[in-house]
Symmetry: C2
Subunit: 504 residues, 2 copies
């Protein structure tokens, strides 16, 4: 078999595996949107069958044989070529899939399945004690998983790498550390002003049908293609790209609150624009894939926060919102809305946090999971450590574990290493957005006229069309000329928030 | 390996194959309800991958080995036992799946894929000539398929058996022949009266949102469980049972016509009630499956026509309909609606035909496809033969092929042998319903009070809970004590229609 033949076999297998994987995405989407309650047992049987068959495809020993033939050849010579990129990522995927022993896969699956149920109940009962033995078991298994995957400096590195390839505890800390200091200080200064926006902007009558229409309009305005996608309702919003031509957004609506539905939609539409912008001719191979969770999140955060929460956007969009909600938005001015949607408010729940405080919630979680994985704190001591760190970062006393360590689903599923990608998404978004301002021209003037194509075109060319050509750190340098830094995000937050709070 | 071990292997494999097959059903449902247009290419790739993998599962040579061990054993001794039934149907499925050579499967798949596109265009252009070469190729391949499957008396038997196990040209003709004579005579007599119902009942303003609510109510009233199902909108209504707890109905609405949406919903709900009534503990094995297309159709037709179009139903349901459509139904009496929904009207299009003429449309198609498969007429002569037979059966001159031989999709997909099951569904429904009247008591008095549980309970026990224990002819004898006959359907139609038309 020639290297080219081996490569072609890999590509064919990769496409088949991707199409197969996308079948599970359809079932997952249906499960969270339209499936009747009675269907859940059968749906888990379908998904579990797909999971087993998909795992067999990803660990097919022929992949190793094909890789062995193709990797040493000329195909891998130019690291930026389509072939070299695909070979690099196929190797990574195959190694990851085969390194974890089957017994550990099954133990993790059982522990996290039980752990999820226990977490749901523990959160409801506000009782960490009931979740504690499950979390202890999961932490133990996740540490085993990290060891199976292999690591050099820190066991945590093996976990972070699952979500953000090449990310390490050290590389994350290098940007989080300076961000934390400056951000905690900014958030405290904003809170000290005692200023608050007019509460009637956010808390008002927002009929759900009108919200749906406005969300469709907003997503369309920023460029989401509804010929190749949809927007539906779910409890926990998500975006799922099934494949070329089919990207599904979901959001949720609160009849007395504007932000959840609208900015949730822009957020998911940001993910969706990335999905719609990936090079379709490479579908099913790494070159047709997104880079990482952090880069994916940079796209959702950019459209949600850097575009959707900008003053310029609301110069364009307020008349539409006023037409949709004559009661709630009728008499409001651009600056009323602009302040209301950018309020910096220290509170306990991550998913309800604003653009500034959100990052502090993440850094808390990063510190916590790093210590748990390193064994620097025990699971039993975790709630106390959580509350102490929360006080340091956000200045508030956590009232109970439901508002503290029990609020997130991630750890119950073994998802250690995931949290940092949320904050890295914000950091990437800020750095990309600064560069876009430099490259594309006066974005604010464009947004105020409803022109989002110049920014989208720039993202398409610089990021979407590149697929997985570069890992995230390299992509950042390629696009912005600099390594990832906390500075652009801090500049963005200060420039937006200080004037709103009469500071600066 | 013991016979029991072989049997258990077969059961496990059968369940896995069924769960896998139900994954394709979810994708098919999504494709016809919510999928954006841009997703169709990727969706065919997903479905084609599933089809290939599903075929591999159904033709797994181990099935033959397991069957060989289990079939001769005590497990197969009592033909009505769960084990014997499952072995019988596994054998049938395995033989069918393995008898057709792969080259023929592929040739048929290509020919019908091209044939479908050609048919869509030909119907649009009203040009049979453009479809003719495709139909000739398909008829040729379908004859080859029949030969591969094997037959004794008539090549057509091998095809009919795919949709209605054990049905043959002769067995179908034995009930169709007397039905045709009596029914054509009845339809002609009704038409000769010149009577027509008040057209404003059907043709009026029926706002779609109100139709949707009323359809949900109607389906719920007759017993469809929406905790384990849904009702959505599609172009061509269908019902899809994914598995235990998840049965999806679809319908379509016309804002100026009441029947399509409402009776379409009752029809699909009838299919759905069968799906919801199958024995869940046997899911994935034949004992948990429906008997045949004819028996499935007997359930949809019963709820649509024998229940939904009964006078008693409308004594109960008219107040609800009047509340939903105060304009269109406000002043109407039960008898106005009863006549309007039971009008016997000779026309050209099968899918728009009423309860009486519908069967004549089917018998025309049965005669046509029988002759095409036997080679008694050529494809070139088919349009002329169609029009001639149509005139004989329905007394009308077919104006063009779009209103004649080009109207149905079935033949373009190679579905010869399918049509008779529609009429057999009506025949089974009539014979079952007569028996239910004898067993359950005064069904009309129950319907008039909105009590449908006694009938549903009878169907559940006699038919649904039996799974595939009996083939359809045997089931009919078991339930009604007699072989299938045309007489109950004729009695039903005469009893309903003659009074409405002032005859009898």
């Amino acid at each position: 078999m020639t290297p080219r033949e081996a490569y072609d076999q890999l590509a064919t297998h990769s496409k088949k595996t991707s199409v197969f994987g996308s079948i599970g995405s359809v079932l997952g989407w249906d499960q969270r949107t339209y499936m009747p309650g009675g269907g859940s047992k059968h749906r888990s049987e379908q998904l579990s069958l797909l999971a087993g068959m998909g795992h067999a495809m990803r660990t097919d020993p022929r992949i190793g044989e094909w890789l062995a033939v193709a990797e040493g050849s000329d195909l891998a010579k130019n690291p930026e070529s389509v072939e070299a990129v695909n070979l690099r990522e196929w190797r990574r995927g195959f190694d990851k899939a085969t390194k974890i022993p089957q017994a550990l896969v099954e133990a993790l699956s059982k522990a996290t399945s039980r752990g999820y149920d226990a977490w749901v109940q523990a959160r409801k009962d506000n009782s960490f004690a009931a979740f504690r033995p499950h979390l202890e078991e999961i932490v133990g298994l996740v540490r085993e998983k990290a060891d199976a995957l292999g690591w050099k400096t820190s066991r945590y590195d093996a976990l972070a790498d699952n979500y953000e390839p090449d990310a390490t505890a050290a590389s994350i800390r290098a940007v989080f550390e300076p961000l934390r200091k400056e951000l905690a200080e900014l958030v405290a200064r904003l809170a000290a002003t005692g200023r608050r926006p007019d509460p009637s902007v956010m808390d008002n009558d927002y009929p759900v049908a009108a919200q749906q229409n406005l969300c469709l309009e907003g997503a369309k305005d920023i460029g989401f293609d509804f010929e190749c996608g949809r927007l539906d309702i779910t409890t926990h919003p998500f975006c799922s790209s099934f494949g070329p031509g089919d990207t599904r957004l979901t959001t949720r609506y609160h009849p007395r609150h504007f932000s959840h539905g609208f900015f949730g939609t822009l957020h998911e539409a940001g993910h969706g624009l990335y999905g719609q912008g990936l090079p379709q001719e490479h579908f099913g191979t790494p070159m047709g894939n997104s880079v990482s969770l952090g880069i994916h999140e940079s796209q959702s955060r950019m459209w949600e926060n850097f575009v959707g929460r900008s003053r310029a956007f609301w110069i364009f969009f307020l008349p539409k919102a006023q037409k949709a909600f004559p009661g709630a938005m009728g008499g409001k001015k651009v600056d009323d809305v602009y302040f209301a949607i950018n309020e910096s408010q220290r509170d306990f729940i991550r998913v309800e946090a604003d653009e500034s405080t959100y990052n502090l919630h993440i850094m808390l979680r990063f510190e916590m999971e790093l210590k748990l994985i390193k064994g620097q704190i025990s699971v039993a001591d975790a709630p106390g450590a959580w509350n102490e760190t929360f006080k340091k970062l956000l200045g508030l006393d956590v009232p109970d574990d439901a508002n503290g360590i029990l609020q997130d689903v991630h750890w119950s599923g073994g998802g250690f290493g995931y949290f940092p990608t949320y904050c890295m998404g914000n950091l990437f978004a800020a750095q990309f957005f600064e560069q876009a301002r430099a490259d594309v021209g006066d974005l604010d003037a464009q947004f105020a006229k409803g022109e989002f194509r110049p920014l989208l075109g720039w993202l398409r060319e610089k990021i979407h069309a590149q697929g997985m050509r570069y890992r995230s750190a390299k992509l950042c340098e390629k696009v912005t000329g600099k390594p990832l830094s906390h500075a652009p995000l801090m500049r963005h937050l200060k420039a937006k928030l200080e004037p709103l709070y009469g500071l600066g």
